[in-house]
């Protein structure tokens, strides 16, 4: 009974992960400029990775593949933002202007 429940849960997670991957890909084509496309990429990089790896870990159960999956997922989630930051920062420094209004928030720092 519990096995069936875990099976269904893992299929739900995998399906949602596949949907997230697809939506991110569509967003990468639809969104109008570079800085907004990063958001679509981060949808596939974060959420889809989490969902698909969680689904596969449920399928594998307590075994060596689960540990390996966990290690790969942690590695992707720790290095993904670093690569994205390097990319966004390189674009900013090269003079590609974000097409957006700017809000500054400097008066909120209450150092204490």
């Amino acid at each position: 009974m519990i096995d069936i429940g875990l099976d269904i849960l893992s299929w739900i997670l995998l399906t949602l992960g596949g949907a997230c991957v697809l939506i991110g890909g569509i967003g990468g084509l639809r969104l109008p400029n570079f800085y907004t496309r990063i958001h679509a990429a981060s949808l596939t990089d974060t959420m889809a990775t989490l969902l698909i790896f969680a689904g596969m870990m449920l399928q594998a159960g307590l075994s060596l593949p689960t540990l390996k999956l966990l290690a790969i997922m942690l590695f992707l989630l720790l290095t993904g933002p670093t690569a994205t930051y390097a990319l966004a920062n390189a674009a900013l420094l090269s003079g590609l202007k974000p097409d957006a209004e700017t809000v500054t928030d400097n008066d909120k720092g209450h150092a204490g």
Partner: protein, 91 residues
């Protein structure tokens, strides 16, 4: 079910390739290649379960390492080139 997920990942890889070909700026292309790389890692992991061959997970980890270093290397290359161009223009 793994088939469905791998088809979704493959479609997204094709969409990322289209963006890499269309992309107006260099950074759009690098972003698309980055997406392509991380989706390859996902596809390899799903393949490991689809075919019941857990050793594919080792390939996925190796590809994740290579992809990360590769993207950073490409970015350093473009950054040093664009700053060199700036220096040449200001002289």
């Amino acid at each position: 079910m793994y088939i469905l997920v791998s088809i979704a990942i493959l479609v997204t890889m094709v969409l990322a390739l289209v963006r890499a070909l269309l992309g107006p700026s260099v950074y759009d292309r690098v972003l698309a290649v980055n997406v392509f790389g991380t989706k390859t890692v996902l596809l390899l992991s799903v393949m490991a379960f689809l075919n019941g061959r857990p050793d594919f997970l080792d390939l996925a980890l190796a590809y994740a390492l290579i992809n990360m270093v590769g993207i950073l290397a490409v970015l350093v290359f473009f950054q040093s080139r664009s700053s060199a161009k700036e220096r040449a223009e200001s002289d």
